[in-house]
C-alpha cells in the first residue's frame, strides 16, 4: 500500500469535515469503549492478566531466536512448511509462487493486516489470480478499492447506503429492484455471494493472531467464521504472520486470548478461535492438503532491543484506537498507511521510516488513554516521544518549529529565567485581556485560537502559587 502519511494534515482536515465519518466515529465512542469497560469490570483478574500477558511476550521476544527455530521445527514435524520473508517484496514472491504451483485461479482471504502490509491482493491480481476478501468489512472495502480504516472494524467509515451502492454495482446478476436498506439484507447478500467462492477457491490465505512454538500451530480469532471457511475448504492454506506473533505454549496463548476479545470488541470471547497445525491428516474427512506459514520480518527484528522494542508486544486489538481522541476525531484513513491510531503512530515510522511518517507521532495529545487501556501495557506515548526526538535529531521538522523548540529548551533548562519570563508573560497577557477575560486571536497562534479562545491569565503563575502553598 502506497503511504499517504506525509499528507496527514490535509487528510485530517478532510476527515473532520466528513459528516458520515463523524457519525460513525461518534457511534464507535459509545460502542467499543462502553462494551470494553463492561466486560473488563466483570473479570476482576483483568489487570493481573495484563501483567502476565506482558511477561509472556517479553520472555518470547528475549528468546525469539529459540522460539522461531522451535516453531519452524514443529510446523515441519506436522507436515507444513515455513517460508521466511525478509521484507514485503519477498513475502509477495513466496505467496505468488505457492499459488502458481497450485495452479490457483481464485484465492479466498481471511482478514490479515500482514496481507495489507505486503499488499498481496494487488500482487496476485497483477499475476492473473483473483483474490477474494471474505471478511464482510474487507469485502466491502475490496469492492470500493479502499484500505481498511480500523484494525478490527475495517469498514467502520462506510455507510450502509454506500455499501448498498457497491453491492448493486458488483452483484449485477441479482434483481436491481431488490431492497438493500437494512443491514440484514446486505449481510444476507454478502453471505450468498461468498458461498460459491468459498467452495471454488484453490488457495485460502489467513493471518494469524498467534504462532505457538510448542506445537507449530497458528491461531486465528474471528466472529464471522469466514477465516475458518477460508482455511478449511481450499486445497492449500497459507498463513501470513509476522515474527512477533510467537508465544511459547497453548497456555500462553490462552492467557492473552482472555485479553484480546475483551480489549477489541468488548466480547467475553470471540465466536471462533481456531488453532491450525499442519495439513489434514490422512484419515481426516476434510481440511487443506498443504499448510504454509509465511513468516514476515519487514523491519521487526530491527526494532528488537531498541526503544521501540515493546511495540512488538502488540496484539492488534484496536483498544488504543477506540480510546484515542485523535483517532476518534479523524478515523483511520488520515494516518495514511495500514496501521492507524496510537499503535500506528509508533509502528508505522518503524516500518516505513520516520521521513515518510513523521506526522504520526505528533498526532497525539499525550492524554495517555492508549497506554491505560493497552492489554499488553505498551508505553505508546513514551515511544511517540522517542520518535519526536529522532525527528528533531535528524532535522526533519520545519525550521520555524525547530527554532521554537530550541527557544523552549533554552528556557526550560534555566528555571530562574523561565520563572521571570512566565511571570512577565502572564501579567502582560492578564493586563491585555482583562476587559474581555479571553483572547479570540493571538499573534503567532492563529491556528490555536481559530477553534477556541485563550483565557486571560489571572493572578500569580502556577509556580509562584505552588511555592506560596509549600511555605504555608
Amino acid at each position: 500500500m502506497q503511504a499517504t502519511s506525509r499528507a496527514f494534515k490535509e487528510n485530517a482536515h478532510r476527515a473532520l469535515r466528513d459528516p458520515d465519518l463523524q457519525a460513525a466515529l461518534a457511534k464507535m465512542r459509545q460502542g467499543f469503549v462502553e462494551r470494553r469497560a463492561t466486560v473488563v469490570r466483570r473479570l476482576p483478574e483483568f489487570d493481573a492478566l495484563r501483567d502476565q500477558g506482558r511477561a509472556i511476550k517479553d520472555h518470547t521476544l528475549a528468546n525469539l531466536d529459540f522460539y522461531l527455530a522451535r516453531f519452524e521445527e514443529r510446523v515441519r514435524a506436522a507436515g507444513g512448511q515455513v517460508h521466511w520473508a525478509v521484507d514485503a517484496h519477498a513475502a509477495r514472491a513466496i505467496v505468488l509462487e505457492i499459488c502458481s504451483k497450485t495452479g490457483a485461479r481464485t484465492v479466498t482471504k481471511g482478514k490479515s493486516m500482514i496481507g495489507e502490509e505486503i499488499a498481496i491482493n494487488e500482487h496476485l491480481a497483477r499475476h492473473g489470480i483473483t483474490p477474494v476478501e471474505t471478511d464482510l468489512g474487507e469485502y466491502i472495502l475490496q469492492l470500493r478499492d479502499e484500505p481498511p480504516s480500523h484494525l478490527i472494524a475495517p469498514a467502520i467509515h462506510v455507510t450502509r447506503a454506500q455499501i448498498a451502492e457497491s453491492f448493486r454495482e458488483a452483484h449485477r446478476d441479482l434483481d436491481p429492484a431488490r431492497p438493500l436498506e437494512e443491514p440484514s439484507a446486505l449481510m444476507a447478500e454478502a453471505r450468498g455471494e461468498m458461498r460459491a467462492r468459498f467452495l471454488a477457491a484453490d488457495v485460502g490465505i489467513t493471518g494469524a493472531n498467534f504462532l505457538i512454538a510448542e506445537t507449530g500451530s497458528t491461531a486465528i480469532v474471528t466472529n464471522e467464521g469466514n477465516g475458518d471457511l477460508t482455511q478449511t475448504l481450499p486445497r492449500v492454506h497459507i498463513v501470513l504472520a509476522s515474527l512477533e506473533k510467537l508465544v511459547p505454549t497453548l497456555e500462553d496463548a490462552s492467557t492473552i486470548l482472555r485479553l484480546l476479545a475483551r480489549s477489541a470488541t468488548g466480547q467475553e470471547f470471540s465466536v471462533y478461535t481456531t488453532f491450525s497445525t499442519g495439513p489434514r491428516r490422512p484419515e481426516d474427512p476434510d481440511g487443506p492438503e498443504e499448510f504454509h506459514v509465511v513468516l514476515l520480518d519487514n523491519g521487526r527484528s530491527r526494532m528488537l532491543g531498541t526503544e521501540f522494542h515493546e511495540m512488538l508486544r502488540c496484539i492488534r486489538c484496536g483498544a488504543c484506537l477506540n480510546h484515542c481522541p485523535i483517532y476518534q476525531s479523524i478515523g483511520g484513513h488520515a494516518y495514511g498507511w495500514v496501521y492507524t491510531g496510537p499503535m500506528g503512530s509508533v509502528l508505522t515510522p518503524a516500518l516505513i521510516g520516520i521521513e515518510e511518517a513523521g506526522h504520526l507521532p505528533n498526532a497525539s495529545t499525550f492524554c495517555g488513554r492508549c497506554e491505560a487501556v493497552c492489554p499488553m501495557r505498551i508505553p505508546l506515548p513514551k515511544m511517540m516521544r522517542h520518535w519526536r526526538e529522532r525527528e528533531f535529531e535528524r532535522h526533519l521538522q520545519p525550521a520555524r518549529m525547530r527554532l521554537a523548540l530550541k527557544g523552549w529548551a533554552f528556557l526550560a533548562q534555566r528555571p530562574a529565567l523561565y520563572r521571570i519570563g512566565a511571570r512577565i508573560a502572564a501579567s502582560m497577557l492578564g493586563l491585555a485581556g482583562r476587559r474581555r477575560g479571553a483572547f479570540r486571536s493571538l499573534p503567532l497562534a492563529g491556528g490555536w485560537t481559530m477553534s477556541r479562545d485563550l483565557p486571560a491569565p489571572e493572578g500569580a503563575t502556577f509556580q509562584a502559587q505552588w511555592r506560596a502553598r509549600g511555605r504555608a
Partner: protein, 228 residues
Amino acid sequence: MSEGRKTVMASVARALGRDGPDAAMRAELDRRLKEPRPNLIPARATLPPVQRIQLFVDMAREASATVAVLPSAKAAPGAIAEYLRRENLPPAIRIAPDPALEDLPWGDWPLLSVSRGRATGSEAVSLTHAFAGIAETGTLMLHSGPYAPTTLNFLPDTNIVLLDAGRIVGAYEEGWALLRRATGGAMPRTVNFITGPSRTADIEQTLQLGAHGPRRLHILLIDAGTTA
C-alpha cells in the same frame, strides 16, 4: 537453509546479542515447552461442578447460543426432530461420522433424514459432538479427526452440538490438558473454540447474527443432574 531464514535469524541474533541461548537457558526453555504450565486462571473458571455447568449454560446463552438439557444422549434424536419442527427447518440432518452419534436411536424418528460425513455446502443442519465445554465463556471445544469433519462446524446454516456435562471444564487450559491426554500430546489439524453463532458488526457497527458461519448454534447438553 533459505537465504530469507539466514537473514532474518542473523538480524534477530544481532539484536539479541547472542548466537542462540546458552545450554542452561536452552534447557530451561525446553522445559517450559515440554511441561506447559497454566498462567493465572480467573476465579470464575474454578467453580465446583454444578455451578460450573450452570455458568457454561449462562455464558453460552449470553453469546446467543440456545441450550437444551437432556437426561441422556438417547433423547437427542427426538429433541432434534422437535427443534427442527419448531424452527421451521427441513427434517434432515448431516451428522459427524462419530460412533457416539451414529449409534443414537435415529430409527425411532423415521421422518428425520440422517446422512453422515463432511459438509459440502448443501446441508442445512449439522450435528457434531463437542470434545469439551469451557465454562468461563460458554465455549465449545471441538477438534478435527476421522470422526469429526471441520466443515460441519461452519458450512451449515444451523449447527447442533452434543455436549456431555461431564466434559465441561472451567478454563481453556483444562481443555488443553484434556486434549493432550486424549491424543498423547499430538495436535489435530484443527482445534475449534466456538462461542455462539457467527456474527458481524461490519455494517454501521450493528450486530447481526449469521455472517458466514452458522446462523444458529444449538447445544444439546447431556446432563442427568439438575441444570436449568
